[in-house]
Symmetry: C2
Subunit: 156 residues, 2 copies
């Protein structure tokens, strides 16, 4: 057992702050790039998964983005108000709502062609380092997921 309490500012706190700050900073780069398209980063993410997968239920969007219904629901409402997507109840299961791209939503894919390169430049990493970063983040996500479950179980 390790009773060491570590330095006054433990690495984990700093590491988490780095992650938090880097995430906010990249969102701000997205903001600048997406501003001409009048899109936010989460809205862009929804469009990305729709461009890739076509029609999706709200549930599937929630799963793809790992977000809450309470976040995605009003987000889709705004995208629908903007005319980029439509929401329809599925006839064979009236609980389910299918999200589909409109023509304007599909056209947005062309207008967003410059987004990824600009973000790539923001990272400033070569392919190897980018892959390394992805690997480390993937391990963190897996591990944090487990820890979240562990804590939830412990605080029953």
């Amino acid at each position: 057992m390790d009773t060491d309490e570590g330095p006054p500012l433990p690495l984990t706190d700093m590491l988490c702050f780095d992650l938090y700050a880097a995430s906010r900073l990249l969102t701000s780069v997205y903001r600048q790039v997406l501003d001409p398209l009048d899109l936010t980063y989460p809205q862009y993410l929804v469009l990305v998964v729709l461009w890739e997968h076509g029609d999706l239920s709200v549930r599937e969007v929630v799963e793809q983005l790992d977000l809450d219904y309470g976040t995605v629901s009003p987000l889709l409402k705004r995208l629908e108000a903007r005319g980029l997507v439509v929401r329809r109840r599925r006839p064979e299961d009236e609980r389910s709502v299918v999200v589909s791209l409109t023509d304007e939503g599909r056209a947005m894919q062309d207008r967003a062609r410059g987004v990824a390169p600009a973000i790539g430049a923001a990272f400033g990493l070569d392919e190897g380092d980018a892959e390394r970063l992805r690997g480390l983040l993937g391990r963190v996500r897996t591990s944090a997921e487990e820890q979240a479950v562990r804590l939830a179980a412990g605080a029953d």
Copy 2:
């Protein structure tokens, strides 16, 4: 000729999503750990910098956390309402507001002793990988900062 526009889902999009998802996930772990203390993650961050540096002006808190006045101001207001900090106008410069810990704010440091280890477990990285991740994130932050400036200059 090179008409290659890259894969349909470029790595940068996925990498940024990984960062975004990892950041949210770790915040959710913090949420579970900080919930008994009735603190949010940004509130905890403010306390961390105050524990380390002692009295700070609002400006210094903003700089330490790389946040906006519009974010920090109400955040400090809530911390003051909870009795963890006090805000006083600096007599020699009435524009400046000094944030100080109360006794209760200092006492919170003891109660928060378990936070860092729990977060460390969430990362699930050994010291070497943690350092590597920090290094990569540091480079991303530097590079994204430059790109942000570049874009701001380009969109004048």
